[in-house]
Every structure is written in structure tokens, then in C-alpha cells.
């Protein structure tokens, strides 16, 4: 198509330049993953499968793979039980206080896993401050029960229950209410309706949610690192971490194979989930006008109490334990009103150079990632929605990959890519920039999807009206699209910030002295026995997260549907 313009050449050329946004985005987001794939087949020293066979034949690899599958599998089953029960009860029945319940169930998802692990460790075991107050603590020297496969499974299950919950609830909302009404008219009671109508119809969503929980659990580093490493129980991510931290970049080719291994398992999980979801359609017609509502009758109050007790146990209790530990003058001392002190808080937030630096680094990384992604995502989302091409559609499909793949996989991929910058002698390894690059790749989709959703909902006539009165493309994007997509963009930016500020998995492999992040420092403090300071730091982060989540929640009405992850 030949296009010539008489005036306003600027806007037409912008129209032609804009597609070039795709290139750097594709490079940053997909470059590292591609580089990792090449490494697996021996890129650099000729095509060889030596590394592949050495690493795969080593017994530690098999053990770690088995551990990964056992913990991720067990955690997934638990997630399905918890998330499924909550989803069915919240979406189908007439229990009260649903919004508050859902918000509370979502908090574990937003709290970094190593903080979850730390909090639970303060709740159980011989040094538990809470148990000591109650006089229930096991004798000193008895093992921490959570330092085991069972402990890892328990925490993974709780951490990822919300993924199952969200997927299943979205599926349940697509079941037309009249299907259930028809069953009731045929004489089926609540339980029978659930078992014979709702459960079969929602099974694909349940399985897809389970697949997501499995992939996320597989890539989880914080929980097996805190609970598994002390018990010499290695999963693939912790094995990669220990190898790389112990031996340095010389073992890169080996750990790349491990990363590929875990990546392959994860991708199988992702594809399986998508396949099941795509086949979901029993020809169910969209959102039903009326939500399903099964009456629980007399069982309502006991069910509500049970749900809130459960929330209390998985959320309030561990966080209380964490808070209690953070107020100790020294680890192991009993907490009383007299002995409670904010000394650790003061130390962590004001005095310790490492923790202050970590706060600085994490805030810098999270803010930069959010700001850069915000600037790129707006034109990109517009391009994908309004000027679809094969290139933008391909990017649209693949951009989930860096987020869906386990963090360790992306980290290894980034090290490989940026250890020697292509065509130069420079390296980003050991600088804060490699972490930023990894964050950009990983969180792109978190920023892009909300903006995409809001632009898709925008009446194209808004932009056409601006064009007809003389506004070129640049002006239209600035004056019309930007302000109207701003609420979603803000939500996306806060989500990126929220996820990045307490990120551990990626930075655990990429940090070096001076570029520690909050996630790394919490892990290191706990690892070196500074449990009280770790707890204080963790608690301050939890407060920051809940505050930010509340901020997003407060603006919930401004955002298009589907922008807030805990409000699908």
C-alpha cells in the first residue's frame, strides 16, 4: 500500500516508526530465553550435547528433579483443595463478607515466599516466640518441623492457592445460572447440583488453575531455600542457586542445562493448562446476568466461621509470629511486655548499611522497572490493539514466557546473555543493570495486560474524533489514549512495583555485593542467624505491600475488569 501525505508528515512518519518499538521489546523480553535455548545445544563451543549428558546423568540432578516434582505436585494438590473450596463457596453460595475474604486470601500471593517461610518458621519449632508465650514450645534442640518436604509442600500449597481460586472463579462465572435452576427444577438439592452440574462444568478451570499453581510452585525459590537448604533437601532451583553461588560463572553451562530442564517441565505445565482452558467451552454462554447462588441455610454460619478461622491460621497467625519475633531484644529470649523493643526495627531501617542499601536498591529497581515499562507499554499496547500485525501478535503470544518461566530460568538466561554484551567487551554481570534487565523482561506482561485491556475497551471513535479535528498520532496518544488508559496504567505500575520490590528468585542469582535487594537481604540475614532483624525487615515489607494493595483496591472502580489480579 503506498501512502503519501500532503501535510502533517510528522504523524504519518510516527505511524511508520512506531512498529520499531516491537524490536527492542522483543530483544529484551525474549532475547535471554532464546540465548538459554542455544546454550543447551552447546552454542559457543560448537554444537555438542556433552553438558547435557554429564549433567543429566549426575545423581544430584535426578534427586533434585524428583524433589521438585514431589513438592510442586504436593503443593498443587493442597492449592487445589484450598483454592477450590474457597472458589466454590465464594462464587456459588450466599456466604457474607466475600470481598474481605477474597482480599485476605490474595495476601499470601503478594507476600514474597521467603517472608512467608520466615513467618511460618516463627510459628512452629523450638524457638517460636508465639509457642513460648503460650508455653507450648517443644524443647530446645528438637527439629524445626517445617524443615522438610512436608513443610515445603504446606507453604507452597498456601502460597499458590489464590491462583487456583482466581482461575476457577472465572470459570464458575461463565456457568449460566439457568443451568443450575434447571437442575433444581428437576429436583436436585444443593449438594447434588454441585457434584453433578457445577463440578463437571468447572473441571477444566480447576485443572488449568492447578497447572498454573504447579508451574509457579516448580519455580518457587524462596520457600525451598528457607526450608529445604537447612535440611539438605534440594529442589532444582535451590540446586542451581547453590552451584552458582558456590562455584561462580564457570559452572554456567552446567546450570544452564538444569535451568532448561526446569523450563521444559514448566512449559509442559503451561501448555497443558492452556490446552485444557481452550477446550473448556461446553458452549457456555458468557457472563450470566445473575450470579449462581446456592443457599447454605443453617450451614452458612459454621461455614463462614470455618473460612475465617482458616484465613486466621494461614495469614494472621504467621504474621503475628513474625511481628512477635521482630520485637525481641535477641533471638531466643521470651517476649514479654517489658522485653519488647523496636531495637531491631530501628537497626534495620535506620542503621544497618546493608538493609538500607537493599531498600534503596529494591526501590530503585522497582521504580525504574515500573517507569520504563509504563513508557514502553502504552505505545506497544496501542500498537497491538489498533495496528495488529503478525509481528505484534507473535510478541503478544510469547511475552508471557519470561513471566511464566521459573525465575531461576530467566536469571540463568540473563547471566548468559549479559555476561558478555554481544559485540563488546562490557559485562552487566555483577551490576544492578542486569537485575533491571531481568525485571524488565519478567514483568513486561504485568504492565502490558492492564493497559491492553483498557485500550481494547476504548471506543475507537474517541481517537477518530481527535484525528478528524486535526490531531496527529502523537497528540492523540498523549491527549486521548494516555489519560483514558491512565488508571489501568497506574494499576499496572503499582503491580509491577509490588512484585519487583520484594522479588527474590531472580535477584538471588544476579546480586553481588552492593546490589543486594530486599529479598536477598532477608534471606541472607536469616541464613546468618539474624532472625530478629530478618523478621523486622520482613514485617516492614509486609506493611508496605498491604498498604499498596489497599491503594489499588481503593481505586478498584476506576479500572477495567480484570486489571486487579485479586479481582478477576
Amino acid at each position: 500500500m503506498s501512502v503519501a501525505s500532503t501535510r502533517h508528515g510528522g504523524s504519518r512518519s510516527l505511524d511508520r516508526l512506531l512498529p520499531f518499538v516491537l524490536l527492542p521489546v522483543a530483544l529484551v523480553a525474549l532475547g535471554p530465553v532464546t540465548r538459554l535455548l542455544l546454550e543447551g545445544v552447546g552454542f559457543g563451543d560448537g554444537f555438542t550435547t556433552t553438558h547435557l549428558s554429564t549433567v543429566l546423568s549426575r545423581p544430584s540432578t535426578g534427586t533434585a528433579l524428583k524433589h521438585s516434582l514431589v513438592t510442586a505436585g504436593g503443593g498443587t494438590l493442597l492449592s487445589i483443595l484450598i483454592g477450590g473450596a474457597f472458589a466454590f463457596l465464594v462464587a456459588l453460595t450466599n456466604i457474607r463478607g466475600k470481598a474481605a475474604l477474597v482480599f485476605c486470601l490474595m495476601i499470601p500471593m503478594m507476600i514474597p515466599p521467603q517472608i512467608t517461610a520466615l513467618a511460618w518458621m516463627q510459628m512452629a519449632g523450638p524457638s517460636s516466640t508465639l509457642l513460648k508465650i503460650l508455653g507450648l514450645a517443644p524443647p530446645l534442640g528438637s527439629p524445626q518441623p517445617l524443615h522438610s518436604a512436608g513443610g515445603i509442600i504446606l507453604l507452597l500449597g498456601i502460597q499458590h492457592a489464590s491462583l487456583v481460586f482466581l482461575t476457577l472463579r472465572a470459570g464458575l462465572r461463565m456457568i449460566p445460572a439457568d443451568l443450575v435452576e434447571a437442575a433444581r427444577m428437576s429436583g436436585a438439592g444443593s449438594l447434588r447440583v454441585w457434584a453433578q452440574i457445577v463440578l463437571p462444568l468447572s473441571m477444566p478451570s480447576l485443572i488449568a488453575g492447578g497447572a498454573m499453581a504447579f508451574v509457579t510452585a516448580l519455580g518457587n525459590f524462596g520457600i525451598p531455600a528457607m526450608l529445604g537448604i537447612p535440611a539438605q533437601y534440594d529442589t532444582l532451583p535451590t540446586l542451581i542457586y547453590q552451584r552458582l553461588v558456590g562455584m561462580g560463572p564457570s559452572v554456567l553451562p552446567e546450570v544452564a542445562v538444569l535451568a532448561l530442564l526446569i523450563g521444559v517441565v514448566a512449559i509442559i505445565g503451561v501448555l497443558f493448562g492452556r490446552y485444557v482452558l481452550a477446550r473448556r467451552g461446553f458452549g457456555l454462554a458468557g457472563l450470566s446476568a445473575q450470579p449462581l447462588s446456592l443457599l447454605l441455610g443453617k450451614a452458612r454460619l459454621p461455614v463462614e466461621i470455618a473460612l475465617w478461622v482458616f484465613i486466621f491460621v494461614i495469614l494472621a497467625l504467621p504474621l503475628t509470629a513474625l511481628l512477635a519475633t521482630s520485637l525481641l531484644p535477641a533471638y531466643g529470649v521470651a517476649l514479654t511486655l517489658e522485653s519488647a523493643t523496636f531495637e531491631a526495627w530501628r537497626e534495620v531501617l535506620l542503621h544497618q548499611p546493608v538493609t538500607r542499601r537493599a531498600y534503596g536498591n529494591s526501590l530503585f529497581l522497582a521504580l525504574s522497572a515500573a517507569a520504563i515499562l509504563l513508557v514502553i507499554s502504552l505505545p506497544l499496547a496501542w500498537l497491538m490493539e489498533r495496528r495488529g500485525s503478525w509481528a505484534s501478535r507473535a510478541l503478544d503470544a510469547l511475552i508471557d514466557l519470561p513471566y511464566a518461566l521459573p525465575g531461576v530460568v530467566l536469571s540463568i538466561a540473563c547471566i548468559l546473555t549479559f555476561l558478555n554484551l554481544p559485540f563488546t567487551d562490557l559485562t552487566l554481570y555483577g551490576t544492578i543493570w542486569i537485575i533491571l534487565m531481568a525485571y524488565l523482561a519478567r514483568f513486561f506482561v504485568v504492565m502490558l495486560r492492564p493497559i491492553q485491556a483498557s485500550i481494547a475497551q476504548l471506543d475507537p471513535a474517541m481517537e477518530e474524533a481527535a484525528a478528524s479535528v486535526g490531531a496527529g498520532l502523537g497528540r492523540r496518544l498523549r491527549d486521548i489514549v494516555l489519560p483514558l488508559a491512565a488508571p489501568s496504567a497506574a494499576a499496572g505500575a503499582i503491580l509491577v512495583f509490588l512484585t519487583a520490590v520484594n522479588e527474590l528468585t531472580v535477584s538471588a542469582l544476579l546480586w553481588s555485593s552492593g546490589t543486594e535487594t530486599l529479598g536477598v537481604v532477608i534471606y541472607n540475614l536469616e541464613d546468618s542467624g539474624e532472625t530478629v532483624m530478618a523478621s523486622a525487615l520482613a514485617m516492614s515489607i509486609v506493611l508496605l505491600i498491604v498498604l499498596l494493595m489497599g491503594l489499588v483496591q481503593a481505586g478498584a472502580k476506576q479500572f477495567p475488569k480484570g486489571v486487579i489480579p485479586w479481582q478477576s
Binding site: 503519501a4 484525528a467 490531531a471
Partner: protein
């Protein structure tokens, strides 16, 4: 104000034709309506004119400037054509004043001049008191006026209106119609008005282009469309009445030819020597008990002041007006005079082309 020209304009969407061979000229300062059922291509033609889509073939001109065709394409923002959308497309984050001021802001008009011109546009559309409101605080009719003010404030070379009254209730439609024609009188703008409502088109436009399946079937003044439809589609789509096939008798009476319609000899005006059909408007039928042609009343509705009768005569349904109520099933006599005869291209091997009035 500019003249709009279309030469052999065609548009296909994924191979499916939406417009075929559109040839038309809209004179400077003219108010033209594009009328047709949904899917006839009228909105596509409007969007091609605005520049939101590019024609697959053919040429669109704005005065002497080719804005689309022959490898040239002028972007919508460079065409200086205003458009009022069916959804109004007011920017929800800008106040009424800011919405109307935006075209001037884009053009870099100085603040003071901008204020004056916006105030003038708001006054013209009766919105002076609403400048500070946000679009969400306005009623449908007020939003429509804002959209109109926004499109007129920069004195465009032509104004396009895409079903502007479709979302308004009946009472508002009538008053907005008056606003549009007042507007056209005051500004003398070239206006193209898309609608599927023949009442609107006939009431407002200087000329109406009746469209069907991507083609212009007839492009003429409203009274011509009514009295002298070009084919069966236009005769049936515009105005009340019936379309009945006719046969030549070879006789003439004065200026008119005489045709065999429903077995009667009827005087007909025509522009063709080989008519196939006649359009019988209600005015052409006179009811009288003594008339030869008999019909049965199948329906009777009161229109205020007169009754509209549906009549079954020899298997055809005719429409007549009557001053008194008729019982359903009642037999009446009627005479037909002064009908319009035309040659419908779809009812015969195409001997002659479609008559063009453009």
C-alpha cells in the same frame, strides 16, 4: 466549504465488497443524506470520506485535491473534515469547554482567540451554560450538541454526521433535526448525513443518496425520490405506498402514457419508454363506491386527521388514505391515477443500465 467528489470508489473488507463503483458529487454547501438499510455501505462511504479507511479502488476528491486514490492518501487529521459520531465520542476526561477547544488547541490558536471561538460555538449550539460540565453530566441531546460544536468550531471544509440521532428519543430527535438545519443555514457547511431513517433524510437533506448493497440506487432531491423513484428498491424504501408491475398498452393521454395496472388502464408519468413497474403512492388512489376496481380492506390505522387503509386488490397490497374509518374485510371501490412508471433493472435482462441521476 468544499465540494466532495467520488469517482468509481470501491471498498472491500477481506475480499467482501462493501462499496462498488460509487460515483457522486456533493456540491459545496449542500446538505446530503446517505439513506439505506443497515449494511448498505453508507457508513463505509462516510469513513472513507473522513479518511479512517482507504478505498480499495477509485478516487475521492475534496475540491481539486485528491485525498484518496492513485497512491495518494491524506490522513484524516490533515483533511479538515469534521465528523459527529453516533456515539458522540466526547472525550470523557475533558470538560465541555475543553472538548470544544481541542481542535483549536491542536491548531495552535492563541488562548484568547480560542476562548472567543469556543464561546461562539457553544452559544450557537445553546450550550453556553454548560462549558464547565463533564460529558458524563450531560443528557443525550446535550452531548450531541457538544459533538456538533466540537466539529464546527474549527470551520471544517465538510461536516459528516454518522446516524447522529440514533441514540436519542423521539422528542429529542425532532428538536435536534431543527438544530441541524438551523446549523446548516447559518454556516452554509457542506454536510453529509448518514441515516437509516427516511423521515430524517427527507426532512433535512437537499438531496438524498439511497444506497443498497454497496451501491447508490438513486441520488436526488427528496421530492423527486418520492414522486419519481428510479427502481423497485427506492420506491419501496422511500415513502408509503405500493410497487406493482405494469404492462404497456401503447396508448397515451396528453403528456402521459397509459399502462395496464391491475387490469385497469392507468395514466402514468415516466422517463422511460419501457416501464416494468409503477409506484402507487396513497395520493394516487381515490376511494369511491362506484369505481370499477374493487378491493378489500385488510387493515385500518388512524394517523390523526385521516385513516390509512391497507387494501387487497387482485393479490397486491395497496395503501390509501381515507377520511372515515373502514371495517376490516369491507369491500371498497377505487380509482388509480397519475402514478410513476419506471424500468426496474433487476426484473429483466439488463437491456439498459441503471438510470443515473447523480
Amino acid at each position: 466549504m468544499a465540494e466532495l467528489g467520488f469517482s468509481n470508489v470501491s471498498k472491500q473488507f477481506d475480499g467482501a465488497p462493501a462499496l462498488q463503483g460509487i460515483d457522486a458529487t456533493i456540491r459545496s454547501g449542500e446538505f446530503v443524506a446517505l439513506l439505506g438499510p443497515s449494511g448498505c455501505g453508507k457508513t463505509t462511504l462516510l469513513r472513507l470520506t473522513a479518511g479512517f479507511d482507504q478505498p480499495t479502488a477509485g478516487e475521492i476528491r475534496l475540491d481539486d485535491q485528491v485525498v484518496a486514490g492513485h497512491g495518494r492518501f491524506v490522513a484524516p487529521e490533515a483533511r479538515e473534515i469534521g465528523i459527529v459520531f453516533q456515539s458522540y465520542a466526547l472525550w470523557p476526561h475533558k470538560s465541555v469547554f475543553a472538548n470544544v477547544a481541542y481542535p483549536l488547541e491542536v491548531r495552535g490558536v492563541p488562548r484568547a482567540a480560542r476562548r472567543a471561538r469556543v464561546a461562539e460555538a457553544l452559544a450557537l449550539t445553546g450550550l453556553t451554560a454548560y462549558g464547565d460540565r463533564m460529558p458524563a453530566q450531560l443528557s443525550g441531546g446535550q452531548r450531541q450538541r457538544v459533538a456538533l460544536a466540537r466539529c464546527l468550531v474549527f470551520e471544517p471544509r465538510a461536516v459528516l454526521l454518522d446516524e447522529p440521532l440514533a441514540n436519542l428519543d423521539l422528542a429529542l430527535r425532532a428538536s435536534m433535526q431543527e438544530v441541524f438545519s438551523m446549523f446548516h443555514r447559518r454556516t452554509g457547511a457542506t454536510m453529509v448525513y448518514v441515516t437509516h431513517d427516511q423521515g430524517e433524510a427527507l426532512a433535512l437533506a437537499d438531496r438524498v443518496a439511497v444506497m443498497e448493497s454497496g451501491k447508490i440506487r438513486q441520488f436526488a432531491a427528496p421530492e423527486v425520490l418520492y414522486r419519481e423513484p428510479a427502481d423497485c428498491f427506492v420506491a419501496g424504501f422511500v415513502g408509503d405506498g405500493a410497487v406493482v408491475s405494469a404492462r404497456l398498452t401503447g396508448k397515451t393521454r396528453g403528456e402521459c402514457m397509459v399502462l395496464d395496472v391491475l387490469g385497469q388502464e392507468v395514466r402514468a408519468r415516466s422517463r422511460t419508454a419501457t416501464p416494468t413497474h409503477v409506484s402507487i403512492r396513497p395520493e394516487a388512489i381515490t376511494l369511491s363506491d362506484s369505481a370499477m376496481l374493487r378491493a378489500r380492506v385488510t387493515n385500518c390505522t388512524y394517523l390523526g386527521g385521516r385513516f390509512r387503509l391497507s387494501l387487497d386488490a387482485a393479490g397486491e397490497t395497496l395503501v390509501a388514505f381515507s377520511s372515515c374509518r373502514a371495517a376490516i374485510g369491507e369491500g371498497v371501490g377505487m380509482s388509480i391515477d397519475d402514478v410513476w412508471a419506471f424500468h426496474d433493472p433487476d426484473h429483466e435482462v439488463r437491456v439498459t443500465g441503471m438510470p443515473s441521476y447523480a
